[in-house]
Amino acid sequence: MTGSTGVDTARARRTAAPGEVLVEVSGLEVHFPIKSGIIFDRTVGHVRAVDGVDLTIRRGETYGLVGESGCGKSTLGKAILNLEPPTAGSVVFDGVDIASLRGEDLRTERKRFQMVFQDPMSSLDPRQTVEALLLEGMRAHGLDTDKSATHARLRELMSAVGLPPAGLKKYPHEFSGGQRQRIGIARALSVGPDLIVADEPVSALDVSIQAQVINLLQDLQDELGLTYLVVAHDLAVVRHISDRIGVMYLGGLVEESEAGELYDVPLHPYTRALMSAVPVPDPTLEDTRQQILLTGDLPSPANPPTGCRFHTRCPWRQETRCDTERPELRVVEVDGASEGHRVACHFAEQIASGEIEPHEVAPQTAEEPSWGGPRDDGSPFLAPDGPPVP
């Protein structure tokens, strides 16, 4: 396949109207085997890093994925790009199931979806000049056939991310952190992708530099009509940059909503706790606001709690259903919640109306397999996989 036809097909596909579904993730699972044994490896269990996620990303929007470390958000981001092969499920990108692609088919398809990494230093090969880094992807996809056009393209990329063309001859270590992240973004753009997965794109940067990169990402989106999946732990950043947000806890989505609405009407207890925990640079607000302090730690993803994954730390936990039945994402009838607002909580309506009050939760640590709360059966067995969502 020659370079020009490659570009043409990409362009042709891109004429599709914004707002239609670009990525459809269904039943996505990534389980890492836990090996044990001296001579022969035996699989003794699985870390359920991503455990059944369904989400859709529409063309031209920014989908934010937020959660704490260990919730599987980064693994999910990589699994969507098939950089981490999914154990189960599908990722349909513009009609093609990326999750089932392998080898050369996957490689050639990669020009349509790119990634921006957290650490701009470690994700740039220290031995390559910026020019070589930017050329590499174009060469891999045969987009560098015309020499003068390639040269113009390189300059265009540099100016798009706000770097001077003279920087092409330099090496990554000669740039500051923020500039390196710009190079990382230019590299992702070099192959003309539709989708960019940005994994913690600003968390390695200084506070004053973060805003530069956030603004750059937004400007590029406006200019090029890009679709973003932004994975981050910083709720304020995610809320600022995203159109829709998915909140992850222990391998699964617990809530998904339009960005503004999520903060106005948080429905899942975990979302509420997460938002109340973010410190705000306003002393008056800090002094008066009511925090929901979660007790205990994130349970181990190798041995997740039965039922609702959050029930071991949930201040609204009920005696029934919570520890036995895993809730699925559903639309609820709550004031202020729109159609696209989905939450995985059995009692979301009652919590929103104040019918169920929060209560104290005995803290328990991640290492303890048993827990202190009241429980009907002491079954030591792992919860079976949740039923696959159609």
Binding site: Q212, H240, Y263, L274, T284, L285, D287, L293, L294, T295
Partner: protein, 337 residues
């Protein structure tokens, strides 16, 4: 309990710690000496929490390490004074400083895993401090250690005493470290980015714990962080550092309500906030620390400053203010626009 408001800054009384004109210079063979801390002065009074805020390379951590006598001596010079309880910490011998550390002054570090010895049980690490400074036997210290762990919110403290650090989660490790720091009822606690390595929900737990402890024990605290949100909830007094100097100081409410240094304003404007309406573009601070000018003949921040005047690149701005409120700027925000 977590929402208990902090009392206004206690301004009366002698300072517990008075740092004056602290300068730290790093020198390495064949390289230009680098001044990491450039004349920092501040006071910490009993029961007060003082914040040192700034980005990486601003000198906030080096300041705390210098006060604690924890900087490697080779190639580094530390000048100035840090008077703690009538005694200049910077002129103490290594032995005298060791007696002070852990007893009168304790420190909490950013990374709880690397600050704990991986091959020694938690209980042993907590009691070690008490054995060393209070002359207790291990037997006497153990129940106290269990009490401490309970105090910092570690469930089932007696069982945890026998655990090794890797058996605890990140949040629990940081609690164990705080327990160690509190073991000898220090009068000053230095917390160096104590929650940066933790998730937000765990951060909220640890901050609430620190708040409670300060109120309960009356210990003074120096809080070192890059997060203005953390400062807003915790510190009585805030010092903003840039390029090794304090550029602005204020009380908690004063500084956030009316920031005056363009750098402070820039920091506040460049972070997205959960409490602000969505959709407003951020105004980043242009450039990076690499653009700094030397303080000797200019304001280091001038090249990145939108408010800069000609004088900013010709003279060093002087510190105007006292030990409660102050500013180092020729053209502060909201004055002569």
């Amino acid at each position: 309990m977590s929402t208990q408001p902090i009392q206004p800054a206690v301004r009366h009384g002698e300072p517990l710690l008075a740092v004056r004109d602290l300068r730290v210079t790093f020198g390495r063979r064949g390289e230009e000496p680098f001044r990491a801390v450039d004349g920092v002065s501040f006071d910490v009074r009993p029961g007060q929490t003082v914040g040192l805020v700034g980005e990486s390379g601003c000198g906030k951590s080096v300041t705390s390490l210098a006060i604690m006598g924890l900087l490697p001596t080779r190639g580094n010079t530390v000048e100035g004074t840090a008077v703690f309880d009538g005694e200049d910490l910077l002129s103490l011998s290594a032995q005298q400083m060791r007696d002070r550390r852990g007893a009168d002054i304790a420190m909490i570090f950013q990374d709880p895993l690397s600050s704990l010895n991986p091959v020694i049980q938690i209980g042993r690490q907590v009691t070690e401090v008490m054995e060393r400074h209070q002359g207790l036997s291990r037997k006497e210290a153990m129940p106290k250690a269990a009490e401490l762990l309970e105090r910092v919110g570690i469930p089932d403290p007696r069982a945890r005493l026998a655990n090794y650090p890797h058996q605890l989660s990140g949040g629990m490790r940081q609690r164990a470290l705080i327990a160690m720091a509190l073991a000898c009822q220090p009068r000053l606690l230095i917390a160096d980015e104590p929650t940066t390595a933790l998730d937000v929900t765990i951060q909220a737990q640890i901050l609430a714990l620190l708040k409670d402890l300060v109120v309960e024990t009356g210990t003074a605290m120096v809080m070192i962080t890059h997060d203005l949100g953390v400062v807003a909830g915790l510190c009585d007094e805030v010092n903003v550092l840039y390029g090794g100097k304090i550029v602005e100081r204020g009380t908690r409410h004063g500084l956030f309500a009316r920031p005056r240094h363009p750098y402070t304003v820039g920091l506040l404007d460049s972070i997205p906030r959960l409490d602000a309406p969505r959709g407003e573009a951020l105004s980043p601070i242009p450039g990076s620390v690499a653009d700094n000018l030397p303080w000797d003949s200019a304001c280091a921040f001038a090249p990145r400053c939108s408010n800069a005047l000609d004088v900013c690149v010709e003279k060093t701005p002087a510190w105007e203010g006292d030990d409660v409120v102050g500013l180092r700027c020729f053209n502060p925000m909201g004055v002569s626009r």
